[in-house]
C-alpha cells in the first residue's frame, strides 16, 4: 500500500475567537473535566472492589497482566511438535542470520537419518528480539513466543538458555504461526491468486 501523505499547513492564522484565548481555554477545560468526571465515579467504585467502570489505560502490573498483541516478539523458543521432538533440523540458518550471534548449534543425526540439534544454546543476555531467526527458519522451528516475564536476571550466566529451557509445545504457538504465515507468505499467496491481472511489485 502506498503511503498517503497529508500536507498540513502549519502557518494558519488564528481567528479572533481563538486569539481571545479564554473561550478556547474553557473548551480545553471542558475536555479535561469530561475525562475527569467519567473516570471519577469509576475510580471510587474500583477502590471498593468494583469492576472496570473507567477508560483507564493503566495496568496494575503485578496483580494484572497486560495483554500483548499477537505480533509481539517475546522470548524466542524452539517448537516441540506433537510427537514430543523438536522440529529443528540444525541447518544453522538462524545461527548465521542472528545479528548479535547469540545462537550456537551443534547438530546431530538420529538413527533414521533425521538431523536434530544435539545442543542448541541461545544467550538471552545478547538476544535483541529482532525476530530474524523465525523469519529465516525453513521449518518454523524457532518462533518468538509471547513470553515476556522473568527475562531479567542479576547474573548473565543465568540468562543462557539451553535446548531444554527453549522447548515449547506447538499447540501454544498456533496464533503466532498464523501471524507468521500471514506476514511472510501473503505476498506469495497474492501472486498465486488467479483473479489478479497485474503482478504486484516485490
Amino acid at each position: 500500500m502506498a503511503i498517503t501523505v497529508k500536507k498540513v499547513d502549519r502557518n494558519v492564522d488564528m481567528t479572533l475567537w481563538e486569539r481571545m484565548y479564554i473561550p478556547e481555554m474553557i473548551c480545553g477545560m471542558l475536555i479535561t473535566w469530561r475525562h475527569f468526571f467519567l473516570n471519577f465515579v469509576g475510580l471510587f467504585l474500583e477502590e471498593v472492589g468494583g469492576k472496570h467502570y473507567r477508560r483507564i489505560a493503566t495496568v496494575y502490573y503485578p496483580e494484572e497482566m497486560p495483554i500483548v498483541p499477537v505480533a509481539y516478539r517475546g522470548r524466542p523458543v524452539l517448537v516441540r511438535s506433537k510427537n514430543g521432538i523438536e522440529k529443528c533440523v540444525a541447518c544453522g540458518l538462524c545461527e548465521a542470520a542472528c545479528p548479535p550471534n547469540c545462537i550456537s548449534i551443534i547438530g546431530g543425526e538420529r538413527p533414521n537419518g533425521d538431523r536434530y540439534p544435539d545442543s542448541y544454546v541461545l544467550d538471552g543476555s545478547r538476544c535483541i528480539f529482532c525476530g530474524f531467526c523465525e523469519e529465516v527458519c525453513p521449518k518454523e522451528a524457532i518462533v518468538m513466543s509471547h513470553d515476556w516475564k522473568n527475562l531479567c536476571e542479576y547474573n548473565r550466566s543465568k540468562m543462557v538458555y539451553t535446548k531444554k529451557e527453549l522447548l515449547y509445545p506447538e499447540r501454544n504457538l498456533q496464533k503466532r504461526f498464523d501471524v507468521l504465515r500471514d506476514k511472510y507468505f501473503s505476498a506469495y499467496r497474492y501472486r498465486q491468486s488467479p483473479n489478479l491481472k497485474t503482478e504486484p511489485k516485490e
Binding site: 481555554m25 475536555i31 479535561t32 475525562h35 475527569f36 471519577f40 473507567r54 477508560r55
Partner: protein, 364 residues
C-alpha cells in the same frame, strides 16, 4: 486593653487557620494534584503507599512524602550563602500564612453578650494588607535563587521576581473596581455587603474576576505561568538547590498561596460564607428554636463549611487550569501582564466609575 477571653478567641482562630492550611490543605492538595491529574489523563495515580494493607485511595502518599522528606539530607551547596539559603524558605512560607489573617472565614455571631467575628484581624485596609503581604513572598523566592550559587536557581529567581512584580501591579488594579463598588477596603465589610446574592462580586465584576484569576495564577507561579520553575528549562527553578524540610517549606508555601488566592476570590467575588439567597440573620432564625447560642453556633458551622466548600471549588478550578494549559513563553507572560491585563483592568476601573456616576451600577 486586651482581655484573656479575647486572647483565647484569637488564639483559637489562629490555631484553626494554621491547622486548616498546614495540616489539612497542604497535604490534601498534594493528593488532589496527583490524583486529579491522573484521573483527567485516564490514569489511576499514586495509590501504592499503604498502612497494614489499607491504601485509602492514595491519601497516605502525603504522609509517605513527609516521612521521606524529613529524613532527607538538608543540603547546602558549596559557595552558597548559608544564612540567606536557610532564611529564604522561611521568608517564602510566612507571608503565605500571614495573608490569611485578614480573610474572614465566617460572619459575625453573638454568644450571650459576646460578639465573635470569624476573622483573625479585622483590619480596615484588609485588601491592601493582603497585597502588601503577598508581595513579600517575592523576597523569599528571589533570595532562594540568589543564595543557591546555581545558574538555574538564579535565572528562576530573576524570572520569578520580574513576573511577580509585574503581576502585583495588575492584580491590585483589577480589584479597584470592586473596592469602588463596595466602597470599602475592609474584607469583613465587603463580605457583609454580599449578604444579598445580587450584590456578589461575580455578578457585577465578572471581567475583573477573569483578570484577577489570571493575575493570581501568575502570582502563584503555576502553570500556565510557571516560567520561574519551568522543569524543562530550569530544572526546578529557584528551589533547585533545596532539599528536605526546606523544600517542604517552599512546597507548602506554594499550596498555601493557592488556598489564600482562592480564599481571596471567594471573599471578593463569591460572597464569602454566604449561601445564595439565604442571609445570615435568616439562617440564624431557622435554628432559633434551639436557643440563641446554639442557633448561632450552628450558623457558624454552616458558614465555615460553605466557605471551605467554595474554597475547594475555586481550588479545583485552579488545578484544572494547571493540568489543561501549556506553559507560556516568558515574553508572552510579560506581554500579557503589561500590554493586555493592565490596560484591560484600567478600562474596567473606568467602566465601573462611569457606571456608578450614571447610577447604572447601584451603590451599596
Amino acid at each position: 486593653m486586651i482581655g484573656v477571653v479575647d486572647l483565647i478567641e484569637v488564639l483559637v482562630k489562629i490555631g484553626f487557620i494554621v491547622v486548616l492550611l498546614v495540616g489539612v490543605f497542604a497535604p490534601v492538595l498534594t493528593w488532589v494534584e496527583r490524583k486529579q491529574s491522573a484521573v483527567m489523563q485516564d490514569r489511576i495515580g499514586a495509590n501504592r503507599a499503604d498502612v497494614f494493607g489499607f491504601r485509602i485511595i492514595g491519601l497516605l502518599h502525603a504522609a509517605a512524602d513527609a516521612i521521606k522528606l524529613i529524613f532527607k539530607e538538608d543540603f547546602i551547596p558549596r559557595g552558597a550563602d548559608r544564612t540567606l539559603h536557610t532564611l529564604a524558605p522561611i521568608m517564602a512560607l510566612i507571608p503565605a500564612i500571614l495573608a490569611f489573617s485578614v480573610i474572614p472565614f465566617g460572619g459575625t455571631y453573638t454568644f450571650g453578650d459576646r460578639e465573635v467575628n470569624l476573622v483573625i484581624a479585622n483590619l480596615d485596609v484588609g485588601v491592601l494588607f493582603v497585597f502588601a503581604i503577598t508581595s513579600l513572598a517575592t523576597y523569599g523566592v528571589f533570595i532562594a535563587g540568589w543564595s543557591s550559587n546555581n545558574n538555574w536557581a538564579l535565572l528562576g529567581g530573576l524570572r520569578a521576581s520580574a513576573q511577580m512584580f509585574s503581576y502585583e501591579v495588575t492584580m491590585g488594579l483589577t480589584i479597584i473596581g470592586l473596592v469602588m463598588f463596595y466602597q470599602s477596603l475592609s474584607m469583613v465589610e465587603i463580605v457583609a455587603k454580599q449578604d444579598i446574592f445580587w450584590h456578589w462580586g461575580i455578578i457585577w465584576h465578572w471581567p475583573a474576576f477573569i483578570l484577577f484569576l489570571a493575575c493570581a495564577v501568575a502570582e502563584n507561579k503555576r502553570i500556565p505561568f510557571d516560567a520561574p520553575e519551568a522543569e524543562s528549562e530550569l530544572v526546578a527553578g529557584y528551589f533547585t538547590e533545596y532539599s528536605g524540610l526546606k523544600f517542604v517549606m517552599f512546597w507548602t508555601a506554594e499550596f498555601i498561596e493557592i488556598v489564600t488566592i482562592s480564599a481571596l476570590c471567594v471573599v471578593l467575588f463569591f460572597g464569602g460564607h454566604h449561601i445564595p439567597f439565604i442571609a445570615d440573620a435568616k439562617l440564624i432564625d431557622c435554628f432559633s428554636s434551639l436557643g440563641a447560642n446554639i442557633a448561632n453556633l450552628v450558623a457558624m458551622v454552616i458558614g465555615v463549611t460553605v466557605f471551605v466548600s467554595k474554597l475547594a471549588i475555586i481550588i479545583f478550578l485552579q488545578m484544572t487550569i494547571r493540568w489543561t494549559m501549556p506553559r507560556f513563553r516568558y515574553d508572552q507572560i510579560m506581554k500579557l501582564g503589561w500590554k493586555m491585563i493592565l490596560p484591560l483592568s484600567l478600562i474596567w476601573i473606568f467602566v465601573v466609575g462611569l457606571g456608578m456616576l450614571t447610577n447604572l451600577i447601584p451603590r451599596i
